[in-house]
């Protein structure tokens, strides 16, 4: 321990700390300034940025003693006397804060820039911002709102970008910042790693590190004997079920007999310090007998393939998904032209900037036993008593977590409580269990609170990814462009455990004919087990993959038939009266044609050209369309319950609270629920509090997935509020009522049975303007014009943020992202090897909103969370083709291959960045 002296936020600090500390650790742990967040500990993501003597630095790799004698400034210094700094106010106004985990770092980086330019007397420009924020990542917003907010904060008159939408009601339709946005911009918002409990231990997991092996023995004796270690648990210590899974339960909590992927958990340790826990993990001896590895979905389907799960009659086949409509033979017989191509999409990583963190607290825990108190503002009132085994976690499925923890502990679900903390991004990647069960086991074993925080590297290794797919699509059309048939075969890499593979790849399959009225459809999809990381939910849920293939084929078809790319989509677009691939009749709310019209109107100005050249740079527009279901569908009961409590204040004012266990991960659900309740109660949304995700205080809102929460929890909140309004009518001041509504979405039908498979669909069209440098093959997206039918815009500000963020996420899917695994071992083992889009990849985005109301949605709304991140990839690759004559059949685009093809005169490229082999051949029905 040595004396560290510095000034932090204007206050002199003089503390004894180890010289091995990083600045981020001193700030967060020693000074409890948890506004500074940690995203990677690699100086890659920039969210830990603080100012040292006015200069932005990554505090995660900045030795604390390097700051000895310096002035350090953090997010906590910005607002004074409850008054926001102009940057903070601008971030609120522009909706430039979503999950909020990156916000402190982004704001601090921007503050240094504004101060620097002000001192130099320069006017701040978007280019300055793009340079300064190049390595400060945001995974939610897509940066456009951030850029505009920073310009506003520098004193320029820059209003928030809002789409034109239907007239507003009292609250519904009004732009409002999300409810916790203020806490997020001031650094007071608490994410799971920001919680501290007196007596808390730190947990670590022993990972397999190898993709496929028999476990011969596990020896934990040395680890248990290490000073500071309180518990080392293996499969033998599990009282209840040792299998978990969001849908199919096949994933060991702790592996007993074999490991199936490199991220498998073997043992868990709780110790006094993170260092002791890490050292103990290293002392656990596991003897393996290695097994052959299968790391590719098509290989996994071969009879000679190693088996990932033994004893299954289907072998490695997790699910064969079939979609059939009409007569596929007749459909192709009626076609004048058939386009037949095979595409490949990569596994990708959610890269939510908050790594997973869970804290388990044992039943009966009392902080005063450890000489401390627990900040009760972190949990509700008397609940700080912790009567039950409690898990604090940022999770997309609080009730599901509760049930899964209970099953492994061998207790009733009601004896477990899950408290949702804020979540630093989810995108589908926080649906599966990570540390929740482990911390509950360790907390009960040690009778101490136990925190398990994944490092970024562990997060990359462990949680499910987006399915890598190989997709062959045959598209048949008549001479005039009318689609007659679509046949597709898909292989999806499900990885080692089922997770949501069946559901995800079902969505890939049902949407594999695109948002078009196709009379004859046949789709076969094979979800396969492999020894790769499991694949699960990821924004777009399978449709992102099939849309790339479908919309590439559509452009090839248009070119072959010498038809306009917009026109061919318009003449086939799903509309009211159309029938989907699964036999669902579109009775309402099918605004695709209007989306096409809006994008085309913007696109085709007087001087419109699809493509042109400037020196060595070629420019072109590309277009693509998509649709995406709202809600679980497929016959699954789609329920959400909400409680609304209303108080009449003595002065006659009314306040309310909405309670439901659905999840906020940055998408803006709380402010949507507040608007729905306020609308019914006739009060301002600002008078409505929203409590989410405490399973003891909030009824079940179901999983936050499938773009469903605005629809289901929005309806539940609306109808509960309507009931509360009725009850409180005429009541005296001081009265309060509680109303609960259990909302059940209209019944849907399973795939294959015809009828309504989904309650609603969102539609979208995007056009991308790309530049290709013909000397280097580098691709830049300059503009996106988008139009999305969302049913109804409940909150245009957060809606704009969802759309901009979704588009930029899909730009990453198209140009930068690939989670690479080599024979089951992740090559992508550090953040430096996985690049999400930075501000320098962000195009100018114009977003139009179409509102074809859905009769069963709240005020006509349907889901939008996933939709904008679906058509972007094909819009970009269609533009690349138009500019260069080269079609990219794999993602992400490789500039090396693109340049090679242009120089060699080749017209199609099979290798994406990270691919070492060509796309395998897939036989369609009847072929060998």
């Amino acid at each position: 321990m040595s004396r560290l002296q510095m000034t932090v936020n204007g206050t002199p600090v003089d503390i004894d700390v180890p010289e091995s500390r990083y600045l981020s650790e001193v700030l967060r742990k020693d000074l409890q300034l948890t506004g500074t967040k940690i995203g990677c500990n690699e100086a890659e993501c920039g969210i830990c940025t603080v100012l040292v003597d006015g200069t932005p630095v990554s505090s995660c790799v900045f030795p604390a003693f390097k700051a000895h004698g310096s002035n350090v400034e953090t997010i906590e210094n910005l607002s004074k006397n409850n008054e926001l700094h102009p940057l903070q106010q601008a971030f609120l106004d522009h909706g430039a804060v979503q999950c909020g985990i990156c916000t402190p770092g982004v704001i601090m980086t921007a503050k240094a820039l504004i101060d620097e330019k002000k001192a130099a007397g320069e006017t701040l420009t978007p280019d300055h911002i793009a340079v300064a924020l190049k390595d400060t990542f945001c995974r939610c917003t897509g940066y456009q709102s951030i850029t505009r907010a920073i310009l506003q904060a520098s004193g320029q008159d820059i209003p928030p970008l809002l789409p034109a939408t239907q007239p507003t009601g009292n609250s519904v339709g009004k732009p409002m910042p999300n409810l916790q946005a203020r806490d997020k911009i001031t650094g007071t918002a608490k994410f799971a790693d920001d919680y501290r409990f007196p007596g808390m231990l730190h947990a670590r997991t022993k990972r397999a590190g190898i993709p496929h092996a028999k476990i011969c023995s596990i020896d934990t004796s040395a680890a248990s004997a290490l000073p500071g270690v309180h518990a080392v648990l293996t499969h033998e210590d599990i009282p209840g079920s040792n299998l978990h899974g969001v849908f199919i339960k096949d994933w060991p909590v702790l592996c007993a007999d074999k490991v199936r992927y490199a991220g498998d958990a073997i043992a868990i340790v709780a110790a006094e310090t993170e260092a002791a826990a890490a050292a103990a993990v290293d002392l656990i001896e596991v003897v393996y007998e290695k097994l052959p590895v299968v790391s590719d979905a098509i290989e996994a389907a071969k009879p000679e393939s190693p088996l990932v799960h033994e004893g299954r009659a289907e072998g490695n086949l997790l699910k064969h998904i079939k979609v059939n409509k009409g007569d596929i033979k007749a459909g192709f017989a009626a076609a004048d032209t058939i386009i037949d191509r095979t595409y490949r999409t990569p596994a990708t990583e959610h890269l939510f900037l908050e790594p997973e963190c869970s804290i388990g607290v044992p039943a009966g825990y009392r902080p005063d036993n450890f000489g401390g108190i627990f900040d009760t503002t972190a949990a509700r009132g008397e609940t700080a008593k912790h009567d039950k085994t409690t898990v604090y976690v940022g999770s997309q499925i609080p009730y599901g977590d509760r049930d899964q923890v209970a099953a492994t502990l061998g207790v009733e679900p009601e004896s477990i409580r899950v408290v949702a903390t804020l979540m630093g991004g989810g995108f589908g990647g926080k649906e599966d269990i990570t540390g929740q069960i482990h911390v509950a086991l360790l907390a009960e074993k040690t009778q101490r609170p136990v925190k398990m925080l994944y490092s970024r590297q562990e997060s990359l290794l462990v949680h499910p990814k987006r399915h890598a797919t190989v997709i062959r699509i045959r598209t048949g059309a008549t001479r005039d462009g009318k689609l007659t048939a679509v046949e597709a075969k898909l292989y999806g890499d499900g990885g080692a455990y089922a997770s949501l593979s069946e559901k995800v790849l079902t969505r890939a399959s049902t949407h594999a004919a695109g948002p078009y009225d196709v009379p004859n459809v046949k789709v076969d999809c094979f979800a396969m087990y492999t020894n790769n990381a499991p694949s699960g939910a990821f924004r777009g849920f399978g449709v992102t993959q099939s849309c790339f293939a479908v919309e590439s084929n559509m452009d090839i078809l248009a070119e072959q038939l010498e038809l306009d790319a917009v026109e061919i989509r318009r003449m086939n677009a799903l509309d009211v009266g159309s029938v989907t691939s699964t036999g669902q009749v579109m009775r309402e709310s099918a605004g695709l044609n209007e989306c096409i019209d809006l994008v085309e109107r913007d696109l085709r100005g007087d001087d419109f050209r699809w493509t042109w050249q400037e020196g060595n740079r070629r420019f072109a527009w590309g277009i693509a369309a998509a649709y995406k279901n709202t809600g679980l569908g497929g016959g699954a009961p789609d329920k959400a319950s909400a409680e609304v409590e209303v108080w009449l204040d003595p002065d006659g004012g009314m306040r309310a609270e909405v309670r439901t266990s659905s999840a906020e991960m940055g998408q803006g659900l709380p402010v949507v629920l507040a608007a729905c309740a306020a609308e019914e109660l006739g009060i301002e949304a600002s008078a409505v509090n929203v409590l989410l995700g405490d399973t003891d205080y909030c009824p079940d809102g179901g999983p936050t997935t499938a773009s469903r929460q605005t629809f289901v929890s929005g309806n539940a909140a609306r109808l509960a509020a309507r009931d509360a309004a009725r009850q409180i009518k005429g009541a005296q001041p001081g009265a309060n009522v509680v109303a609960r509504y259990d909302y059940l979405a209209p019944e849907t039908k399973p795939l294959g049975s015809g009828g309504d498979m989904h309650v609603a669909f969102g539609f979208g069209v995007q056009a991308a303007l790309c530049e290709i440098d013909m000397e280097s093959g580098e691709v830049q997206v300059h503009r996106i014009i988008a139009a999305h039918d969302v049913g109804r815009a409940i909150n245009p500000l957060t809606l704009q943020g969802q759309i901009e963020g979704g588009i930029v996420m899909c730009i990453g899917y198209t140009l930068t992202e690939h989670y690479i695994q080599e024979q089951g071992k992740p090559w992508t083992d550090v953040l430096a090897r996985y690049k999400i889009p930075s501000i320098s990849h962000t195009p100018s985005i114009t977003s139009h909103i179409v509102e074809h109301n859905t009769s069963t949605g709240p005020y006509g709304a349907k889901g939008v969370g996933e939709l904008p991140s679906i058509p972007t990839s094909a819009a970009i690759t269609n533009a690349i083709y138009r500019a260069t004559g080269v079609r990219m059949r794999s993602l992400p685009v490789d500039q090396d291959e693109l340049l090679r093809a242009t120089r060699a005169g080749e017209t199609e490229v099979e290798l994406a960045w990270g691919d070492l082999t060509p796309i395998p051949c897939i036989a369609l029905g009847g072929e060998q």
Binding site: P63, E817, H818
Partner: protein, 300 residues
């Protein structure tokens, strides 16, 4: 890697004099290691890529060594000087353009604000951008140890990929210098990257040229990386240029000569040999043209 303190150090020193720094290294007898900004080293230590050390000796706060000075025709850069300082320095922008350009593409602002040119050179990566820029300028480095200080041409310090002859447990790279470009001289740098998960360049190239009054080339210096295990001086390309009249054709010949003298590797996920060759063919002539323009006074 990540949250544990498994890969750390016991002591962190910020000496204020060179004597203090080398004494510390001497005292630890190989168990201490010099660190500059730490933007590479600390990440590597976290990943367990270095043998553990008892102490880190931070060379970035030595008095007098965090500034850029002129010494006659030389520009001298202290070991505490960050990439951000370099790219803002009007003298280096003008008289060491390729160094300014190469430091400007390193990492992001947070890294450039902390990382130092001395650290970049001592790290000895085959394509460290600052290193490539300084190498074309004919950079020299000063090394201090308990035995005193000495100046050497920087290329003599390169041993292999990430390996330097500077013993970072015993010696400190204290200063770097180059002769500023003067009348009828110019320099330029270009780097080709990819947007995916690789922080290393596909190719990084810098040139320094000097012209006779009749627009024939008097001197030329070309650095490239990654080309082999250490930052590379393309001597055969330099020979092609010296004495030749300035022309696009001659620049193309220089690129071909550079390619003929090396084997560009095909590296998995980074670039194919063919792509790298194409980038040399395209951008080496381009930066030669830019440097010549500067030498002719067309650009500053």
């Amino acid at each position: 890697m990540g949250n544990s303190s498994a890969h750390r150090w016991e002591h962190y020193y910020t000496p204020e004099t060179v004597a203090e720094a080398v004494d510390l290294l001497q005292r630890y007898d190989g168990q201490a290691r010099v660190v500059g900004g730490g933007t590479d080293l600390l990440v590597e230590i976290r990943r367990g890529l270095h043998r553990p050390v008892d102490a880190l000796v931070d060379a970035s706060r030595i008095a007098g060594l965090n500034t850029i000075e002129e010494d006659g025709d030389n520009i001298v850069i202290g070991c505490g000087v960050t990439h951000s300082q370099i790219i803002r320095d009007s003298r280096i922008i003008k008289y060491g353009t390729c160094l300014s350009e190469s430091c400007g593409v390193i990492g992001g602002p947070q890294v450039r604000n902390v990382g130092t040119l001395a650290g970049n050179v001592a790290h000895a990566l085959p394509a460290g951008d600052g290193t490539i820029g300084l190498l074309a300028l004919g950079g020299e480095i000063e090394i201090a140890s308990v035995d005193g200080t000495r100046w050497i041409p920087m290329q003599e310090s390169f041993k292999g990929p990430g390996k330097s002859f500077i013993n970072r447990h015993r010696e400190v790279l204290t200063r770097l210098r180059f002769r500023r470009t003067g009348t009828r001289e110019g320099s330029a740098h270009h780097r080709v990257m990819r947007p995916q998960g690789l922080c290393l360049p596909i190719i990084s190239m810098a040139v320094r040229v000097q012209l006779h009054d009749n627009n024939t080339i008097k001197k030329a210096r070309i650095s490239m990386g990654p080309v082999g295990p250490v930052p590379f001086l393309a001597e055969s390309a330099m020979e092609v240029l010296v004495g030749a009249k300035v022309s696009a054709g001659q620049f193309n010949k220089a690129a071909e000569a550079a390619l003929a003298s090396v084997t560009l590797r095909s590296s998995k996920y980074r670039a194919s040999t063919e792509y790298r060759e194409q980038m040399v063919r395209t951008y080496l002539p381009a930066i030669l043209a830019r440097a010549v323009e500067q030498a002719m006074g067309v650009s500053p």
